[in-house]
């Protein structure tokens, strides 16, 4: 494997997103949401203004869990199928580059664009809030940003996998939307439904493990469990065993969610 070939593809993908202002648009969206939530998140309770980073992060988690998977899926669903459908894939593959290098280059370039816009967007909000944040709050916020990047990378990996399997862009976009619905909206409802239907007889013990089967849930747990105030607010301490709540372990699970779809995509793309 030649790293230089991966870097060439990745830098092109990244520069394309910079050039077409995709990165700027996403960063601005993240900044605006972060500032609005930080200042107006407690408006329903009758107060306006920044209160505490834990509450802000908890609100942002609820937003990010919808937004970042969607953005990542939109970003990556046509990474390969788009090249194939346009007819540029053959030319690319006739170059001295392997399929693995092409796939990884695409992935890393798109991941860099997503990570850059996420860090820039939330980072700008952090700069605006910094006079009111102590070091501990900044560390928490940085953890939130990092986990947001990981969440984006996991869904981007799923999107790239779809783009390898799909036969055309239309199908790939349909599959991406279906995937978003499943992981973000349906998955938790299914688990809850199973719990309710069986009167809590089924799933109680394996529920925490099943939550790891969804990167969106891993992201939620990763953030909520690092915030003491919010953990009790969510009542998660009673559901999730502390042994599984280790941020490093959850971080590894997230990395597995990045690696596994990419591995499957590579296997399929090489066939």
């Amino acid at each position: 494997m030649e790293i230089a070939q991966i870097a060439i593809i990745a830098s092109k993908e990244f520069r394309d997103r910079i050039r077409n202002r995709w990165v700027l648009a996403v960063a601005l969206v993240f900044s605006a949401f972060a500032l609005v939530i930080a200042y107006f998140g407690a408006a329903q309770q009758g107060s306006v203004g920044f209160h505490a980073i834990d509450v802000t992060i908890a609100s942002l988690v609820s937003l990010v869990i919808y937004l970042i998977p969607l953005i990542a899926l939109i970003l990556g669903f046509d990474a390969i199928v788009g090249e194939r459908e346009r007819g540029s894939l053959d030319l690319l593959l006739s170059m001295p580059i392997t399929r693995l290098e092409l796939l990884l280059g695409k992935y890393f370039g798109l991941a860099a664009a997503l990570a850059f816009s996420t860090v820039t967007g939330f980072g700008l909000a952090a700069i605006a809030l910094s006079p009111q944040l102590d070091l501990n709050a900044l560390i928490h916020y940085a953890g939130f940003m990092l986990s947001s990047v990981l969440l984006g990378c996991a869904f981007l990996s799923l999107a790239v996998m779809l783009s390898v399997f799909a036969t055309d862009r239309t199908r790939a976009s349909g599959l991406a939307i279906a995937m978003w619905f499943f992981f973000v909206l349906v998955f938790d409802l299914l688990l809850l439904g199973a719990l309710v239907v069986t009167g809590g007889q089924w799933g109680g013990e394996i529920l925490p493990y099943l939550l790891l089967a969804n990167p969106a849930d891993v992201f939620r747990i990763l953030n909520i469990f690092t915030l003491d105030d919010v953990r009790s607010l969510y009542g998660l301490t009673t559901v999730f065993p502390p042994a599984l709540a280790n941020p490093w372990l959850l971080g590894l699970v997230m990395l597995a969610w990045i690696a596994a779809p990419l591995g499957i995509a590579t296997w399929r793309f090489r066939k």
């Binding site: 394309d16 050039r19 540029s88 053959d90 030319l91 006739s94 001295p96």
Partner: protein
């Protein structure tokens, strides 16, 4: 022409740069390529012609390693296509696909820079490559503003990056105007003089018949014949066409002069007659016409075109 067997494939692989042996590509019951043996020699301009769906593009893609063969083997410069050391060979290959799709958001120069980096070629080569295909004035325009012909030329410039020793050109003149086609073949002539091996597909047979060194006729996934255009003409034994310009009142004299020769039907037109004959009696026909003593105003002899040869093999 079912009785015409394929020409013996040259087995002198000593100078062959591209060697295909028993290559097949099956998609379920469809045999897109069905047992192809081919040798393409170093420095030659080799044409691959056939109907749509004959298997040319599939064979092309297998030669480039874009799709794997179901059976058989292709070697380029001695390296097995798709094998571990094929990356090095790829650096010596230029490819112009049939439908050149480049990146609309990049300029012509940026496009070449991107491909140059992938090929490990100095970006300094990009300017001269654009110059060579006549796109230097448009180097800084975005590809989305390029016409189809300009995109084709940019694709050709991309294929020329890195001074490739082997060029694969799939329908390279599609979308080019006559002047650009002439410039394109001028570049090919120059490349041939530099020893570059080129494989070209085209459905414009008249365009390539005088330009290729050898060609292969492909139908239904098989190579029907391989050789020079002249060798294929001779193998097909297609008739020559004489057009004899004479006054209408001399038509019968022409018939009489040729009456003793085994020529085909003599057709009368307004101011000329046409006659078909076999190659071996060509001189006898000329001598017979010479006996008409000045009544013949002009004679032209047309060799069977590549199109005639192609249909002879493919029908």
């Amino acid at each position: 022409m079912a009785d015409i067997s394929p020409m013996q494939t040259e087995m002198d692989t000593g100078t062959a740069v591209i060697v295909a042996r028993g290559v097949r590509k099956h998609y379920g019951p469809i045999h897109a390529v069905d047992g192809v043996d081919l040798d393409i020699r170093a420095g030659e301009l080799f044409g691959l012609i056939g109907h749509n769906g004959a298997g040319k593009s599939t064979l092309f893609k297998m030669m480039l390693g874009l799709i794997p063969a179901t059976a058989g083997e292709i070697r380029i410069d001695g390296a097995r296509v798709g094998g571990g050391n094929f990356r090095a060979v790829r650096r010596a290959i230029g490819y112009l696909p049939e439908n050149v799709v480049l990146y609309d958001n990049l300029t012509g120069l940026e496009t070449l820079h991107f491909f140059a980096r992938l090929k490990g070629v100095s970006p300094a080569e990009c300017g001269p490559a654009l110059e060579r295909v006549g796109l230097a004035p448009s180097a800084k325009r975005r590809v989305r503003e390029y016409s189809k012909g300009m995109r084709q030329r940019l694709g050709f410039a991309q294929a020329l990056l890195g001074k490739p020793r082997i060029l694969f050109l799939d329908e390279p003149t599609s979308g080019l105007d006559p002047e650009a086609i002439r410039s394109f073949y001028a570049v090919l002539r120059q490349l041939r003089s530099e020893g570059v091996t080129m494989v070209i597909t085209s459905h414009i047979l008249a365009e390539i018949q005088e330009r290729v060194d050898r060609l292969a006729i492909m139908t239904a996934g098989k190579i029907q014949a391989t050789g020079t255009v002249q060798a294929l003409r001779e193998q097909m034994d297609l008739p020559l066409w004489f057009t004899v310009h004479v006054a209408r009142e001399d038509f019968e004299a022409v018939r009489a002069a040729l009456g003793h020769l085994p020529v085909g039907a003599i057709d009368a037109h307004d101011d000329h007659v046409t006659v078909q004959c076999r190659r071996e009696i060509k001189m006898a026909v000329i001598e017979a016409l010479a006996t008409l003593n000045g009544r013949v105003r002009d004679v032209s002899v047309r060799e069977p075109s590549l199109e005639d040869v192609f249909f002879g093999f493919s029908d």
